[in-house]
């Protein structure tokens, strides 16, 4: 046994070291807070890919090459995904067109459902029964989709032709006229006015965006580095931290670390697989009912990503799917009974089937053995994290909740097993 004087000295040194370490850690977290998100995401991605590293295990294939291969796979996947989404994000002209088409199609579908005749002002039995009750809702939706005077001016300028943009099609221009009840106007000379100029980024804006993008890129450069190092790690990093643990807690810490490690890995891999399955089934479902493949993939990606947050996946799929079903001009359904008239209903059913599949098949299978988080905790956690840390909080909320839950669960169990409490 160590003598009391030596023990006192050891305690003093340990206390000073711990205070210094905590102080430096807090300062570094505060000073380098921008690096935290790419750093933590790099670690989480390494967690996700760890089983794949073992899957590609061949005697002739060195560890480094396996990691480089996975890194290339990950980077390519991310880049292709970003490029696909970026190419399909509507520009200023397309945004205005979508609003015009939405308003037109909404009124058209509403009137057709009510059998409403513009000339006589009369409709079918449904019209007589509920049109007055639905009128405030219809007006409020129309008000929401209404173009502001500036937007109307910009739309007309896009119709006349603006450099770098295709002119607005005649069909959409007719929709615009019907929406705004305007008389057809002759095409004007193409001119860049202040209205359109305001909607298009200028060079100065582009420069500042480029500068920000470069800054973000340099920060995000950390992600692949962290990913590679954590994927290459054969336990050295964990071992270093275990060395700092006093002998009395050595086995306890190892056990808790292992359980936390497994629980987080299972949860992250489970949730990623669930998101992937929702993406595939949502894309397939929408394609089958006639939505174009490109749009079906886009809605599938968005719904798949949103599946990480409870209830958000179907909501995202439903809102984007129904919106698209409302404005789409042409469909190629694989099912013979789907037509333009019943497309929104078909989309609704397709997304309902994906939701049922997610709840009955995907979740029990892929998340069966993983940590069970109450949806309310997840939603409150995400909201709180987004208020505190913005986008970083939203991305890291779920893994953080899992880590905290697992650590609390296993640490208390372990402390009791080892008779420390």
């Amino acid at each position: 046994m160590r003598d009391p004087e030596r023990r006192r000295r050891a305690m003093l040194v340990n206390t000073i070291t711990i205070i210094l370490a905590v102080g430096i850690t807090v300062y570094l977290i505060w000073a380098l807070k921008e690096l935290i998100l790419p750093f933590v995401l790099g670690i989480l991605l390494a967690y996700l890919f760890r089983p794949l590293r073992s899957a590609f295990k061949y005697r002739w294939l060195p560890n480094g090459i396996r990691v480089v291969f996975l890194f290339t796979l990950l980077t390519s996947g991310i880049l292709i995904g970003i490029k696909f989404i970026k190419n399909n994000i509507p520009n200023d002209k397309e945004k205005l067109e979508i609003l015009v088409r939405l308003k037109y199609k909404f009124n058209e579908k509403f009137n057709s459902m009510m059998g409403f005749d513009q000339a006589t002002g009369k409709g079918n039995a449904m019209f007589n029964l509920i049109s007055q009750d639905l009128s405030p809702l219809k007006n409020s939706i129309n008000g929401y989709l209404e173009l502001s005077p500036d937007q109307q001016e910009a739309f007309l300028e896009f119709r006349d032709g603006v450099e770098g943009f295709e002119p607005v099609s005649e069909k959409y221009y007719q929709y615009f006229l019907i929406n705004t009840k305007k008389v057809e106007q002759p095409k004007r000379e193409p001119a860049k006015t202040a209205v359109v100029a305001a909607t298009i980024p200028n060079t100065a804006k582009e420069k500042s965006v480029l500068k920000t993008a470069m800054g973000i890129l340099s920060i995000w450069f950390l992600l692949p580095i962290v990913f590679v190092f954590f994927l290459l790690d054969d336990g050295i990093i964990g071992q270093f931290f275990i060395r700092l643990v006093p002998n009395r807690y050595f086995e306890l810490v190892l056990t808790v670390k292992d359980e936390v490690d497994q629980a987080i890995g299972k949860y992250l891999r489970g949730i990623s697989m669930e998101c992937g399955l929702v993406f595939i089934s949502m894309t397939a479902g929408l394609y089958v009912v006639g939505i174009g493949l490109k749009m079906a993939i886009l809605i599938g990606i968005l719904a798949g990503l949103a599946t990480a947050i409870p209830f958000l996946g179907p909501v995202v799929g439903l809102s984007f799917g129904l919106t698209h079903a409302l404005i789409v001009e042409e469909i190629n359904p694989l099912l013979p009974f789907v037509s333009m008239d019943n497309l929104p209903v078909a989309v609704f059913f397709a997304i309902g089937i994906v939701l049922a599949l997610d709840n009955i098949v995907f979740q029990p299978i892929v998340l069966g053995g993983a940590v069970n988080l109450h949806p309310l905790i997840v939603i409150i956690g995400i909201m709180a994290a987004s208020m505190m840390f913005g986008m970083a909080g939203v991305l890291l909320a779920i893994p953080s909740i899992v880590i905290i839950k697992v650590i609390i669960q296993h640490t208390f169990g372990g402390l009791k097993d080892y008779r420390i409490i």
């Binding site: 590293r53 060395r243 700092l244 006093p246 002998n247 086995e251």
Partner: protein, 173 residues
Amino acid sequence: MPKNGLEEIFWGLNFRRKKSAEVSRNEFLKTMPFFEHLTLKQLRKLANYLHERRYEEHEYLFEINHPGAALFMIATGEVAVVTSSDSKSATELARIRPGEFLGELALLDESPRSASALAVKPTLTYALFRGDLNQLVLSEPEIACQVFKALAIIVGERLKATNRQVGLVRKAA
């Protein structure tokens, strides 16, 4: 904190010393029955999973009835296996010396320790954690297989020895 814990922070500064320490560690590991059939490359990989722990005199490596989680290999020092954690009522069952090991059953399951292990001299050990061995099954199955095979042989030998002892006791009775 272990003696060389802070040194580890300054990776590379003590490269030469670390290299020679690594060689002697690998030589030591090669003498252990669990690892005698491993190649040097495999031994180096496995060494990444081993935890070096230093115990003071009269410090417990583990205590009776606590869940077992790791195998301990004694590099230097001496450990007494005792029936209780209470020093007054404890009966010494065995003495474990350098080159020997204890707590090997913890690699198979987390059943409670059947005895306590007390360092009777300042002791340096290498610990192999069950979770790490399970991970090795996936990442380095050949290494894990060798370790489990050696473990099965050791447990089998001990069972045979116990049966011989029981036979002798019965004969004597």
